[in-house]
């Protein structure tokens, strides 16, 4: 394993989308005063005719995106994940998902990327609320490679899609596996002892935890579960049958996200295993940087590996 630090996924998203939009005039960005935070200033300068600015009005952002999509545009609606998926949830539900318009909703500065700005700005609810909306697909790329692939596939995606990006530079976790398809689990490492299921920015933490474990001769399969919905239950089931311990790791509430999806599949398939959900507990969340908060809630590579050891010794 090698550890090469890449760029923030958000930057790669904006660069990739600009490249795609230069080739395809149907691509439009809609944004709610989030050009700067979405790294879209170069895009707006190069393609001023392909960006629509609606101001700080997320409901309107989603509604207008629906209308533009009906008019044949391929719309990427870019807004902070927290506001996009909470304030505009009804528009997502009615105007995008129920009306079956293939808008790509891009939740930026997702999870707890905003750190000390506090809970108003955090989106640890987005998987939960979007998972129970029929016709929504949910994707959280882990690194720059996955981001590029996700954007390219999003351009041709035929149904509503939500993409989730954080702000921090991400480790390249795709150097051994370049097989990225929306809806299909992606192996980061393969090992026979432990299964680490992670998504988005927590994948690199699982990857680093696997490195710590390998020094103790414990071998982990790390899966980048970039697609939260539709969930690749088949791959998860086949891997979970092989592993003594399963951990899910997500930058999201422990309610309604990756962990509960895994738990549901395990329980309904009668798989008895040592399973633990790591995420943000249901409490008044501690304040800090994204990194400090994830560490505090036992999602540092060290703590993940310790939890694995504890579960293995049971």
């Amino acid at each position: 394993m090698s550890n090469n630090m890449g760029k923030p996924n958000l930057e790669v998203f904006a660069e990739t989308l600009l490249n795609e939009a230069k080739k395809n005039s149907k691509i439009l960005v809609t944004t709610s005063d989030s050009r700067g935070s979405g790294k879209l200033v170069p895009y707006s300068k190069e393609l001023p005719e392909q960006i629509i600015e609606v101001g700080i009005a997320e409901q309107n952002l989603v509604g207008i995106s629906a209308g533009l999509s009906a008019a044949g545009k391929k719309v990427f609606a870019v807004s902070p994940a927290s506001f996009l998926t909470a304030r505009a949830l009804e528009q997502i539900k009615g105007d995008i998902a129920y009306s079956d318009l293939p808008v790509c909703l891009v939740g930026i500065s997702a999870g707890i990327s905003y750190g000390q700005l506090g809970s108003t700005h955090h989106s640890i609810h987005d998987y939960a609320v979007l998972r129970c909306i029929h016709n929504m697909s949910i994707v959280a790329p882990a690194d720059n490679f996955e981001t590029i692939q996700a954007i390219k596939q999003a351009v041709n995606f035929k149904s509503p899609l939500y993409l989730r990006f954080g702000k921090k530079p991400m480790l390249d976790i795709s150097h051994e596996n370049k097989d990225f398809n929306i809806g299909k689990a992606k192996f980061v490492t393969k090992g026979e002892d432990v299964l680490l299921m992670a998504t988005g920015e927590t994948v690199q933490r699982a990857y680093l935890a696997a490195q710590i474990l390998s020094e103790k001769d414990i071998h982990a399969t790390v899966i980048s579960m970039h697609t939260i919905k539709p969930f690749d239950a088949e791959t998860f089931l086949s891997e979970s049958r092989k592993s003594k311990v399963i951990l899910s790791i997500e930058e999201h509430s422990i309610h309604g996200g990756l962990g509960e999806q895994c738990a549901s599949i395990l329980a309904q398939n009668d798989i008895k295993t040592n399973f633990k959900i790591l995420g943000i507990p249901d409490e008044y969340m501690i304040n800090g940087t994204q990194s400090d908060v994830l560490d505090y809630y036992e999602m540092s590579p060290e703590k993940i590996s310790k939890t694995v050891l504890t579960l293995l010794s049971k």
């Binding site: 207008i64 995106s65 533009l68 008019a71 545009k73 009804e90 105007d95």
Partner: protein, 275 residues
């Protein structure tokens, strides 16, 4: 289409609205009756929308943001040949696509609505898309007056003005009643004209249940360059049926057999009196 023919259609449409609500046992009677003349004029003498061109975006567009008055829309689309009478006969049946709010499962319906305050944003997006592609077609959105309490309407109004959407016409079905009572008691929306003027709209008032006035406003709109249009259609909730007019109780009341018979009787008399 001749105005007398449109007037007869309005009466026939009212009979259909009452029939489908009566037979299916549910519906928004008052609001469907208040907006039916607007839909009649738009679909029969203004808009370029047909079953044949519907699958193309290269035509006019109509979004019924006040989705609950879907019985009016179903009635007009039926008459325009979008589906058969038998299909509409399944209204509110188990597994029917004809339900209490518009969905795209029914041919002729542009967008799924029902939750209020959504339609204008979607219409803005459509109008913007047409404008970007230099298409001449128009987008119409019908809103309820109670609906104007939704903040998202005003978000959409700002963007319509920013992008100078002359091809957009929002219509307010100004029947002055909502489910609880008078709009001005529930949450006042006046001065409505001033509000939209200050948002940069070209504002026009019209007698919303008067065919001649509607024809004039829609066929020869007095547009202002680079401004979106707002038509305040002053209507009567329950229009056309004496005992339903201006009665908040008819918001979504279903007529009894005797009320239904009486209403049809009134409409038959009105039909005979059309000049």
């Amino acid at each position: 289409m001749e105005q007398s023919k449109l007037q007869r259609k309005s009466i026939e449409y009212r009979k259909t609205i009452l029939k489908i609500i009566f037979e299916s046992g549910a519906g928004h009677t008052g609001g469907s009756l208040s907006c039916i003349d607007i839909l009649n004029v738009l679909y029969n003498s203004v808009m370029d929308i047909t079953p044949e061109n519907f699958s193309s975006f290269d035509r006019d567009h109509f979004i019924q943001s006040k989705g609950h008055s879907v019985e009016a829309l179903y009635t007009v689309l039926l008459d325009c040949g979008f589906y058969k009478k038998e299909d509409l006969g399944t209204l509110n049946n188990f597994n029917s696509h004809f339900i209490g709010h518009p969905t795209k499962k029914v041919l002729g319906i542009e967008h799924n609505t029902g939750a209020l305050g959504h339609g204008l944003s979607v219409a803005v997006g459509m109008a913007l898309g047409l404008k970007m592609d230099q298409k001449k077609h128009q987008v119409y959105a019908l809103l309820g007056d109670g609906e104007l309490s939704e903040g998202s309407v005003w978000e959409a109004a700002m963007t319509a003005s920013k992008y100078e959407l002359e091809n957009l016409t929002a219509i307010i079905d100004r029947n002055r009643l909502q489910i609880t009572g008078s709009t001005e008691e529930v949450n006042p929306i006046e001065p409505l004209q001033d509000k939209f003027l200050s948002f940069g709209f070209n504002v026009i008032e019209v007698k919303g249940n008067d065919i001649a006035s509607l024809v004039e406003v829609f066929q020869k709109p007095k547009k202002e360059k680079n401004k979106p249009n707002l038509i305040i259609a002053n209507t009567i909730k329950g229009a056309g049926i004496s005992f339903m007019e201006n009665q908040v109780s008819w918001h979504h009341k279903v007529p009894s057999q005797s009320e239904y018979d009486l209403a049809i009787h009134e409409l038959n008399e009105a039909f005979e009196n059309v000049q």
